[in-house]
């Protein structure tokens, strides 16, 4: 169906619009500014052609406001090769469907509202302008999304299938549904295309796999148990062999032991004879040894006796010699002791004289010292007196410190200022008595009245008045001058001056200077200056006094008394002794004498030391000699005793001849015993028989112990083995269960993999087939896409003929992921491509776009103009061919869509469209 023209009256805001002669194909731009009524025209067309019967009261916004006029819409359209005109006056039964005859006149087909409506719908392609092909091609204002696949009109899909080819048969649907149902028993989703999906948790196969794992674990446990029994089996066999071997060994070892034991019994007599001979030989040897020993002992004693005698004689000689040396030493010692005593006497004399010289020297020292102390005391007392004088001056004429003076100065400065202020505040009173006038009397500021004599120079009498002045002029009367209201400041000044004077007097009081003395401050300054000058002297004198009498004058005096006392007490005895002992009185002589005496004394002391050392040496020597003498005597005594003892021992022993004879006899007995022993000597075998018997016993015991241990192990294994009863069956059952589960899981796994393969292959094949069938649509859209420079390499269409993904290399996007403008452009292209597939030269279709491409930029809009033109022209060369279309664009921007070939209808022209006022 295409629209040739329309006439609308009383529809919404439109009073009347009339458009006719629209071309059957190509772009028709119906333009007008906002509010013209473009959308109302579209609504009216939808209502008239498809949505509403004339009797319908649900035409929405079509009913004009504030008017009783009924909306009337008439549309001339071409369908099935014929031109038709449908006219509906809504809210009435007035409906007319007419057909244009060959001559151009109109023939009424039906004026029944229902019939006219239904036939019109059939011709227009459906009773709903939002369904059928109109769902694709009749866009409401700002509509730009494609319909959802599930909402896409099934009839249009069917028509597209009819044109494009079979895509998916009902059998395919059944197959896919069955496979999906089965597939979902094991799997939930395929995460990545091409990858095997993960098994659904808790699916039957998953459960079986887990059960299989459990069974395998149980079987492995039983197998381990069985293996341990198998190990025991092998071990028990080995132990049995070992046990048998040990038993054999025990028998052999017992036989060997018995043989040795028999041998041992048989050799018992010979053992005894041998034993006796051995004992006899041992006894003979012992006897010989004893006699030989006694003989040796005698020889030894005799030798020792000889040695003892020699030693005794030597000891006697030693004792005598040491005695002589001792006596000589003692004599020398006594001589040295005498020398020592003499030297001690000499030392005492020298020391005595030296003491006396020392006393004389000390007396002379004390005399000197007393003189020095007296001089010092005198000097100190003089300094102390001077200091005392200065201190008295300080007490009598105290001097203020600098801060006090500063304070006083500030006081006086302020007082002067206040006085000046007072003076300034005072009233000048000037009296100039005339010649011959009497002397006036003045009483100023409360003072008693006094005569005011004029100055001698004739100048007027001048006074300063603070508050009140009374002038008494004899013969004339009284004049009173009284200050007014500013007396308060005068009071404050006076008060401050009084306070300053009081403070000044108080500060001055300690210094004994009268406050009224104008030079008081100067006096204080002078005192302070004098004190500063005196202070340096006081300090110096004080330091001198401290040096002369650090502990005070009394201490100095006491020391002088003490020295005097010592001097008086220590007077020298100069005349005592011989002339040689006479002590000189001169200090130098005394010093010389002292040095001489000390020298002599030192020499004497050295000599004493030498003698003492010699005496000590001699004492040690004599002590050593004395000990030596005692030792020699002791030695001599010991040797004498030894000699006597040896002689006694010798006397107790047999004689040498007797001993020689006894040795000879013992040797003879030993020779006889050895001969007997030789006869009874044991063979090597006889000698080792005991050891061999013992070794055989030990070996037998060891073998038996080993066998017992083996048998014990064997019994233990036997006990353990008996517990394996039934394990074989248990193991078989567990293995059977595991095998059965393995078979089942393998079977189910194969089933699941087969279904998964079928599912994957079906999807793959369907997609591939879809690609083939949608080829022409795809290519046409992609040509337009490239024209708009939209960067996608291809578009994958779903089996509902709608874009499934935009593909750009490895990247895939859904259409919804693109920008709004791109979505709008691609969606319109797909609409036009699909619509043109269902269009034909004989039966073109109309695409009615109300305000489209509102989201496109100017560049793409310009290119979209070419797309619209291309789409409306159709592509007869394609397989299947794309038919031409009538593309009606309602817009307020004609420049976006108009082109040379486009038909433009200006709705703003009054002759085309008039709005309701």
């Amino acid at each position: 169906m295409i629209i040739e023209g329309f006439e609308i009256e009383n529809w919404s805001c439109i009073s009347r619009v009339s458009v006719a002669g629209l071309p059957p194909t190509g772009v028709v731009v119906l333009c007008g500014p906002n509010g013209t009524g473009k959308s109302s025209i579209v609504e009216a067309l939808r209502a008239c052609l498809m949505d509403n019967k004339s009797t319908s009261r649900a035409i929405g916004r079509g009913l004009p406001k504030n008017s009783s006029d009924k909306p009337r819409v008439s549309v001339t359209f071409r369908a099935e090769g014929t031109a038709w005109r449908i006219t509906k006056r809504f809210y009435s039964k007035e409906s007319r469907l007419e057909r244009r005859m060959a001559a151009g006149d109109w023939k009424l087909e039906s004026d029944d509202p229902t019939e006219a409506h239904e036939r019109t719908c059939r011709l227009a392609g459906g009773a709903d302008s939002a369904r059928g092909l109109h769902q694709l091609l009749w866009l409401t204002q700002a509509e730009f999304h494609l319909p959802e696949p599930k909402d896409f009109d099934a009839d249009v899909q069917s028509r597209l299938r009819a044109v494009l080819g079979v895509l998916q048969t009902p059998l395919d649907d059944h197959f896919l549904a069955t496979v999906k149902t089965e597939w979902s028993r094991w799997f939930s989703a395929r995460n990545t295309p091409g990858e095997k999906p993960r098994l659904k948790k808790d699916s039957p196969l998953d459960k079986k796999l887990k059960e299989l794992e459990r069974q395998k674990a149980a079987l492995a446990e039983i197998d381990r148990e069985h293996q341990s029994y198998e190990d025991m089996l092998e071990r028990s066999s080995n132990l049995e062999v070992t046990s048998g071997d040990l038993e054999r060994q025990a028998v052999e070892k017992k036989a060997a032991r018995d043989l040795i034991q028999d041998e041992f019994v048989k050799s018992r007599e010979r053992f005894r004879a041998n034993q006796l001979a051995v004992e006899q030989t041992k006894a003979a040897a012992a006897s010989l040894e004893d006699q030989t020993k006694r003989q040796g002992e005698r020889i030894g004693l005799e030798e020792r006796l000889r040695d003892a005698r020699k030693a005794e004689e030597s000891a006697n000689r030693d004792a005598d010699e040491v005695g002589a040396q001792l006596r000589n030493g003692e004599d020398r010692l006594r001589e040295k002791e005498r020398d020592l005593r003499s030297l001690a006497d000499t030392e005492r004399d020298l020391q005595s004289r030296l003491n006396r010289v020392g006393e004389q020297q000390r007396w002379l020292d004390l005399t000197e010292k007393a003189k020095a102390r007296r001089d010092g005391l005198r000097q100190a007392e003089q300094t102390a007196n001077e200091l005392e004088e200065w201190k008295r001056l300080d007490r009598e004429r105290p001097a203020p410190r600098d801060a006090a003076i500063t304070k006083l100065e500030q006081n006086r400065t302020r007082a002067a200022q206040v006085q000046a202020d007072l003076r300034a505040a005072a009233i000048g009173l000037s009296l100039a008595p005339g010649a011959g006038a009497t002397t006036p009397r003045l009483a100023i500021d409360g003072e008693p009245a006094a005569d005011a004599l004029p100055p001698a120079d004739g100048s007027p009498i001048s006074r300063r008045v603070r508050r009140r002045a009374e002038v008494l002029i004899p013969g004339w009367g009284r004049v009173e001058l009284i200050r007014g209201s500013d007396a308060a400041s005068l009071d404050e000044l006076e008060k401050e001056l009084s306070r300053l004077d009081t403070e000044f007097a108080k500060e001055l009081a300690p210094y004994g200077v009268p406050a009224g003395d104008p030079s008081a401050l100067d006096q204080l300054r002078q005192r302070a200056a004098e004190k500063k000058v005196r202070a340096a002297d006081v300090k110096r004198r004080q330091e001198e006094l401290d040096r002369l009498a650090p502990d005070g004058l009394d201490a100095l005096r006491a020391e002088l008394v003490r020295i005097e006392n010592q001097r008086q007490a220590g007077g020298p005895d100069l005349g005592a002794g011989t002339k040689d002992d006479e002590i000189p009185r001169e200090a130098t002589e005394l010093d010389r004498l002292t040095a001489s005496l000390k020298k002599n004394l030192e020499a004497n002391k050295r000599e004493v030391k030498g003698v003492e050392a010699k005496i000590e040496e001699l004492r040690l020597e004599t002590a050593g000699l004395r000990q030596g003498e005692m030792a020699a005597k002791e030695n001599r005594a010991k040797l004498t005793a030894t000699t006597a003892a040896l002689r006694e021992q010798l006397d107790r022993l047999p004689t040498a001849e007797q001993l020689e004879d006894a040795v000879r006899q013992a040797a003879g007995r030993l020779e006889d015993a050895r001969k007997v022993l030789e006869v009874n000597r044991l063979s090597e075998s006889e000698e080792t028989i005991s050891a061999r018997l013992e070794a055989a016993e030990d070996a037998l015991k060891a073998t038996e112990a080993q066998r017992s241990a083996t048998l014990r192990d064997l019994h233990e294994i036997k006990g353990a083995m008996s517990r394996s009863e039934g394990l074989h069956q248990k193991r078989a059952e567990a293995a059977a269960r595991a095998e059965e589960l393995t078979r089942q899981t393998e079977r189910e796994r194969l089933e699941s993999e087969a279904y998964d393969r079928l599912y994957a292959l079906f999807e793959e094949c369907r997609e591939k087939q879809l690609g083939v069938l949608m080829g022409p649509i795809h290519d046409r859209v992609m040509r337009w896409v490239r024209l708009l420079r939209i960067g996608h390499q291809s578009i994958r269409f779903s089996d509902q003929f709608l874009p499934d993904a935009l593909i750009d290399g490895a990247t895939e996007l859904t259409l919804g992921e693109e920008s709004t403008g791109t979505i709008e452009q691609i969606a319109l292209m797909v609409r036009l491509a699909l619509g043109s597939t269902l269009s034909s030269t004989e039966e073109p279709v109309v695409a009615l776009l109300d305000d489209p491409l509102t989201h496109s930029d100017a560049v793409r809009l310009d290119r979209m103009r070419a797309v619209l033109k291309d789409a409306s022209a159709g592509a007869p060369g394609l397989t299947p061919p794309a038919g031409p279309m009538q593309v009606m664009v309602f817009t307020c921007r004609p420049e976006w869509f108009a082109s040379d070939e486009a038909t433009v209808v200006d709705l703003s022209r009054p002759e085309v469209l008039s709005r309701r006022s």
Binding site: T169, E230, E240, G726, H728, Q729, A732, E740
Partner: protein
């Protein structure tokens, strides 16, 4: 003349894991039932005694019930002759083993049963027979168990029939494990035996001596325990305890056998006859659905004799029509699983489902499914076994779902 039955490798309490638990139990039970048949054969042939050449039990750790049932079977009233038993490598005479536990540890002899624990000649009462038992004491050993018999050569005046009873591998095959109780091939001659009754190998085998007489023989197992000709990797879970567990000598014939031996006198050649005493027959069979119509196969297996005592493993191969394929699972599998002995199974994984070209478009249409089918057929020809395996199965599923879709 003396007559006796020679059996071996009873493997009572056998470990088998290949089947479902209940089937395993029933297969194990069949081994006891086969002993009952052995007793019946002994009575039927009026044998003087029965020789069991080792491996009465599958393991030492069999349950007490198994041990007691075995004892009772050989001691019960139904037995009419003495039964001589030696331990084999599965139940060697080791301390604490099954022979050391009740009821087998009781003092010998019992009424009929005589467990020969020692390697000493045994005179069979009232018969001119000397037995030379060779009980095993280990699972594995490099020792020839019959070697000791050579130390007891026939005495000049000895006219008794000398019979050796041993368990081990006769050294007549190459590459036998050295510790598999190897027995010299000429043991019967070397030890001057009239007959050497052997156990250990599960197939019956007779071996001729120098004089051409069959004096050495394996009786085979009394009850089958594997599918014949079953390659490695499809074992039943049983282990031989030998170094080469799946070796040919441990494959049985799918039936249980004993040897009926008769010997006229010392030095006379023994008469050896194979007697079938097994309860079940194990059968592994292959059918090609390309060359044989599926209906025919179904009929064959539905009507076969002794189904209830046949443990069947039916393996199908070939290419089949998708419409017919469901019958394999729906009909043939039901027959095999329900009418044959428990544990029987049908394996049809190797069957390829392939539609005729004219069927194809009818079945899968010309939509996506037809392309899926093409892809799967490509993958089915893949060199990668895993891809092929999944693709084959997916093809079967595709045909099934497509058929269901068409039907609905």
């Amino acid at each position: 003349m003396i007559r006796f039955l020679h059996v071996a490798d009873l493997h009572l309490g056998m470990r088998i894991t290949r089947f479902e638990e209940s089937a395993c139990n029933r297969i194990g039970e069949a081994r006891f039932e086969a002993i009952e048949q052995l007793r019946a054969k002994a009575a039927e042939h009026k044998v003087h005694f029965i020789l069991i050449a080792g491996d009465v039990f599958d393991d030492h750790s069999v349950s007490r019930i198994v041990a007691e049932r075995a004892f009772t079977l050989f001691e019960g009233k139904a037995i009419t002759c003495p039964v001589y038993v030696i331990p084999g490598n599965h139940d060697p005479l080791t301390p604490g083993g099954v022979w050391d536990r009740d009821p087998w540890k009781r003092d010998q002899p019992a009424k009929h049963l005589r467990l020969l624990r020692g390697r000493t000649p045994i005179a069979v009462p009232d018969l001119p027979v000397t037995l030379f038992p060779c009980p095993l004491r280990n699972r594995n050993s490099i020792e020839d168990p019959t070697a000791w018999i050579a130390g007891h050569p026939r005495q000049e005046e000895d006219r008794t029939i000398r019979i050796g009873l041993a368990h081990g591998s006769l050294r007549i095959l190459p590459d036998l494990p050295l510790d598999d109780h190897l027995i010299r091939p000429d043991a019967a001659d070397y030890c001057q035996l009239d007959y050497l009754a052997l156990g250990h190998w599960h197939k019956p085998l007779r071996y001729r001596s120098r004089d051409g007489a069959e004096r050495t023989a394996y009786s085979g197992t009394h009850e089958p325990m594997r599918f014949p000709d079953l390659g490695t990797g499809r074992s039943t879970g049983w282990s031989s305890y030998s170094g080469d567990s799946d070796a040919e000598r441990f494959q049985d014939e799918g039936r249980g056998t004993a040897l009926l031996v008769s010997i006229e006198a010392a030095g006379a050649p023994p008469g050896v006859e194979t007697v079938e005493i097994g309860r079940l027959r194990w059968s592994q069979e292959r059918r090609d659905v390309t060359s044989q119509p599926l209906g025919e196969i179904i009929t064959h297996y539905a009507e076969r004799e002794h189904r209830e005592l046949t443990l069947l493993r039916l393996c199908l191969t070939g290419v089949i029509d998708p419409q017919k394929y469901p019958r394999i699972n729906e009909v043939l599998k039901t027959i095999v699983c329900d009418r044959y002995y428990p544990g029987s199974c049908l394996e049809a994984d190797d069957v390829l489902v392939e539609a005729h070209p004219e069927q194809l478009s009818r079945l899968v249409g010309d939509g996506v499914l037809s392309r899926v089918l093409e892809r799967l057929r490509d993958e089915s020809r893949s060199a990668d076994p895993a891809t092929k395996h999944v693709a084959d199965h997916a093809l079967k599923l595709l045909y099934r779902i497509a058929s269901e879709g068409k039907a609905s």
